[in-house]
């Protein structure tokens, strides 16, 4: 289902469609993504590369096209992810806040219903997420983690593929309005 007739860029914000979700969807989907991120890799290690909370934040940001709601969802998901991990509180929160904000900002200019665009956006924000996390580790925590851009790109492609499929599934849950 495409609202833009096959174009990837919108001529104006009015062409974009603001997707609305039920409240339970906005709460349940990120929660399920967090559960998946926590428990699934315990049983299926090869799924450890997936960053489900990030994909959900990207999707909500793109669909809501509201930077404030996007950054709030990103902050909430990120802080929850920090709380369930050994990371200091705020590392994933800050990163996903920026991702949600920029995703909502980009969603106003892009045809977020285009599959290729979704793939590229998911790829871009995955790399941005990893890069920003690495920068924060170095700048704020003074931790020396490796800078592995090829791995980030490879994992980004995989996450983008999963994200494109996930976004298609999540489209079923939105309430569209123009």
């Amino acid at each position: 289902m495409s609202y833009s007739g096959g174009r990837m860029l919108l001529s104006s914000q009015r062409e974009g469609q603001v997707s609305r979700f039920n409240v339970w969807v906005t709460i349940l989907v990120p929660f399920l993504a967090l559960l998946f991120q926590i428990y699934v890799p315990l049983f299926f290690r090869f799924l450890n590369f997936l960053e489900m909370p990030l994909l959900v934040v990207i999707y909500i940001g793109l669909m809501r096209r509201n930077p404030i709601s996007g950054l709030l969802v990103g902050a909430a998901v990120g802080l929850a992810q920090d709380a369930w991990s050994k990371n200091p509180l705020g590392m994933f929160g800050i990163t996903k806040t920026l991702v949600g904000y920029f995703a909502a900002s980009i969603g106003m200019r892009l045809d977020v219903d285009n599959v290729l665009m979704r793939f590229l956006v998911a790829l871009f924000f995955y790399v941005f997420h990893q890069l920003w996390y690495w920068v924060m580790e170095h700048m704020l925590l003074n931790q020396q983690s490796p800078f592995d851009m090829p791995a980030w790109l490879g994992l980004g492609v995989l996450n983008a593929l999963v994200g494109a499929a996930l976004f298609h599934f999540l489209d079923k849950l939105r309430v569209t309005s123009r």
Binding site: P67, I68, L71, L72, A75, G78, L79, P88, L89, G90, M91, G93, I94, T97, L98, Y101, S105, L140, L141, N142
Partner: protein
């Protein structure tokens, strides 16, 4: 402000959320030293600002403090300068006091050693006017001072009393043109008259051109003026010019080398003494320690000249002139020469076949010393030898019969370390 927030609402919310999470991160995370990052970041951010503020505060305080300090330093500098000036004056005063104490001590020693009766006095005023060289001393007629009394110091004569008041006296210095005194050369016994010139030098008039006087010779008072006792040092000849019929002799007064002294002696009763043929060894009075109990062979010491101008007694024995010890030595030398015995020729008992027979010395009242340290005429057969003339053979007969007389005779002889007898 409200419109600004509305316009940049998204960005503002983003920054607020990120800031809040940064605070959360800083509170939650710790570094390697287990210090929370909020503390690390706070210190990192605040430290430069605190350092700048501390620097400004320190600079301000330092500026104010330095200003106040400099202000105090100026006052302190003036106070210290005044104190330095006061201490300089005090130092000069104390130095003068010390010098006066030294002079007074020397004066007291001289007063005890000289046979003349003297009275110590201090100069309290200089004469008014540059033409006359007079000073006023704090002794007058109530102390027994009379006009025409001699005024001396251990270094030599100073002047004479020209006016006497009940508690003060006027002393005419020897540099005054009106001053005159009879003097005699210590080396050639050339007589003359000392006169002041108004300067720091004096001249000796009426010295015949045939009398030999050289620069460096000493002049002493002759006693002819009935003011100054004979034998007091006057000064040393500075220059001699030939003249007809008298020489022109300029003389440096020995007592005025450092200017007019502050303390001096007024000779109340003068005692004439012999004219020493050697200049005073030093201008300071020195009392030699008492001689050792055993006589030493001092003949060699006595034979040694005291300076280049003085002749050795052994080489040029004097006849009748000189001190009492010299006269006694001459008697013994003649006795030894008549028996071909060399006195003082070596250690005791060497190069002497037999002791000299001093019993054959003729008793001549003129050669027997009289006065201080004299040997009684009743004992000519066993004369008391003096240190410089004792027999090289120590016998009981040559032992000092009167050690005090020997010591005084030695002192009278002006030997090394002795007191120049005035």
């Amino acid at each position: 402000m409200e419109s600004f927030l509305n316009r940049y609402r998204n960005m503002t919310v983003l920054l607020l959320v990120i800031f809040a999470q940064l605070v959360l991160l800083a509170v939650d995370a710790k570094n390697d030293q287990h210090v929370r990052f909020i503390r690390v970041w706070t210190v990192t951010v605040v430290s430069p600002l605190a350092r700048v503020m501390e620097g400004m505060r320190t600079s301000s305080i330092s500026f104010v403090h330095n200003y106040i300090t400099l202000h105090d330093a100026d006052a302190q500098n003036r106070r210290l300068q005044a104190e330095v000036d006061r201490l300089k004056l005090e130092n000069v005063f104390l130095t003068n006091q010390l010098n006066r104490a030294d002079n007074a001590k020397a004066l007291a020693i001289f007063q005890q050693s000289t046979p003349s009766k003297t009275l110590a006095a201090s100069v309290f005023s200089m004469g008014i006017g540059s033409s006359r060289k007079v000073v006023y001393v704090d002794r007058g007629s109530t102390s027994g001072v009379m006009r025409e009394m001699a005024v001396v110091t251990p270094d030599g004569i100073i002047g004479k009393v020209t006016a006497v008041y009940p508690t003060a006296s006027e002393v005419l210095l020897i540099t005054d043109p009106m001053f005159a005194a009879g003097v005699i050369s210590g080396k050639t016994h050339a007589r003359g008259t000392l006169k002041g010139t108004g300067t720091s030098e004096c001249k000796v008039d009426f010295v015949a051109f045939e009398d030999k006087v050289d620069p460096g010779d000493w002049f002493f008072t002759s006693g002819d003026d009935r003011i100054f006792p004979r034998g007091m040092p006057v000064g040393v000849v500075k220059s001699v010019k030939p003249g007809q019929p008298y020489r022109e002799i300029m003389l440096d007064p020995s007592a005025m080398t450092a200017g007019s002294p502050d303390d001096l002696l007024i000779v109340l009763e003068g005692v004439h003494q012999d004219i020493p043929d050697t200049p005073p060894a030093t201008q300071q009075v020195y009392l030699a320690p008492p001689p050792p109990p055993l006589a030493e062979p001092l003949a060699q010491t006595a034979a040694a000249p005291t300076d280049g101008s003085a002749s050795a007694p052994a080489a040029a024995p004097r006849t009748g002139s000189g001190t009492e010890a010299d006269k006694m030595r001459t008697v013994y030398q003649k006795a030894a020469d008549s028996e071909d015995i060399v006195l003082g020729g070596g250690p005791t008992g060497q190069n002497i076949k037999r002791p000299p027979d001093f019993t054959k010395i003729p008793v001549d009242p003129r050669t027997v010393p009289q006065g201080r340290g004299a040997v009684p005429p009743s004992a000519p057969a066993a004369p008391v030898p003096k240190k410089g003339t004792e027999s090289p053979i120590p016998t009981k007969t040559t032992a000092p019969a009167n050690p005090d007389a020997v010591r005084r005779a030695n002192q009278a002889g002006g030997g090394p370390g002795g007191i120049p007898q005035l």
